[in-house]
Subunit: 289 residues, 2 copies
Amino acid sequence: MAVTKRSCENLRDALRLPPGEPVDLAAYGTRTTPGAPGGKKPARQDATRMGKRLARLQERLWAAGTAGDRRRVLLVLQGMDTSGKGGTVKHVIGHLNPSGCRIQAFKAPSEEERRHDFLWRVRGALPMPGEIGIFDRSHYEDLLIARVRRLVVPAEIGSRYGLVNDFERSLAEDGVTVIKCFLHLSYEEQRRRLLRRLDRPDKHWKFDPADIDERTLWPAYREAYELALERCAAPYAPWYVVPADRKWYRNWAISRLLLEHLEELDPQYPKGDFDVAECRERLLAQPPG
Amino acid sequence: MAVTKRSCENLRDALRLPPGEPVDLAAYGTRTTPGAPGGKKPARQDATRMGKRLARLQERLWAAGTAGDRRRVLLVLQGMDTSGKGGTVKHVIGHLNPSGCRIQAFKAPSEEERRHDFLWRVRGALPMPGEIGIFDRSHYEDLLIARVRRLVVPAEIGSRYGLVNDFERSLAEDGVTVIKCFLHLSYEEQRRRLLRRLDRPDKHWKFDPADIDERTLWPAYREAYELALERCAAPYAPWYVVPADRKWYRNWAISRLLLEHLEELDPQYPKGDFDVAECRERLLAQPPG
């Protein structure tokens, strides 16, 4: 994944998984910083600058949505515990106007959710036209933990890849730009992050001792991710592998991916269908209050 | 509403409507700036500083919520068109972590919503424990536009004040801090803001010629607001009258009101119920990946 200056202009090409090819996550760096404009400081400054551009594009997307443009964006965040899904929402999505964001964190399904098909709860959380939707975990958990923990029979998992592809294709056809980011964290960095949480009492609420045991399943999760990434990387809903050991790079890269997609969408303020001069006259003619 | 240095430390007392008294909105300034630390520039700087404190308190509220603390906040924004409800979400709520915010804008009710009682859609949008909910318009529209436009018979409106009070008392008893802000805008400033929207093609999407006609109902809306504020200003769910002709003051004041409430709630990071040393050992004992 050597990244030249040129590919820095298109981070999507640098991070996108090629559809239909076997995935070996060991071949992808977790501490690499493809395309980044230097180290931590310039990347943070660039992310702040991009945040302002993102907010302007978001307003245009929203405005277009009020006039019938059905386009919207869905950012799917997946990754192991501590890989930074929540941090991405805080630091990247935090630059946007919260009115236009529809954020959903998916936990273990509730009893009601389990009574429906696995895509039901996801359908209910999709962004409306003009919105930017963010999934902190997603329907992919039903391919990942469901497989690792054998929550359903293997044949059922097998059929889900196709259902996910059909679902995401239908989203794309309905005007949803689907951007799926796998936050690629190393086993060692996860250990460091868990230790840091233990060091800080104000982080204890994020810590669950069960997360330590879950690490013994790391190889099984990696395999489940590889399968899901391989089978569900589609041209209409690509997977991006985002090196996530460095938080500043993760924030920069996801800002950049969002920006490239939004710039390509290039939403426009709708033209008013009213007579500006007549409206102005009418307003000025109204008596004082 | 003379504001001394002292009351600046407690903006709630300066802006809170006394419960149970007749309300004459003409007695409240729309361009005044009670409690503000100087003019536009220092107020903006102070609002940015408060934004950081708000974000920290929000994280504590959220963290406490993960450990069973049921407390949450509901900010209700009401005001005439262009009074800055959306701007408040963008500039004040924009400082918070979007994950912990549940924002709902209420438009004219859908057919499904009309089939239920008027509080039904509001109940479905309430903040969960640990969250900060924001209503851009709210159940108060069912006391305001419903009255002005005679959407329901007067007796029905009459009964709604009591239903709203019962509803808000039940929220307070369930741990919801209800903060209701009336963005107090002058008729003249609304005209200026509508004219400004006409001047800027990138603001035309926010403009609806019907808003001009709606201004002829200004006195009726004012009266409806006065009644709603008078009958639904309760100790458990106070109304704050926020002068809204100056956007910088509005943002400062609402930041300040939120901050005072959150500081009073003083949510705490929950203590972990695990053995830190044992967890650390277990993590360090795991073999490298």
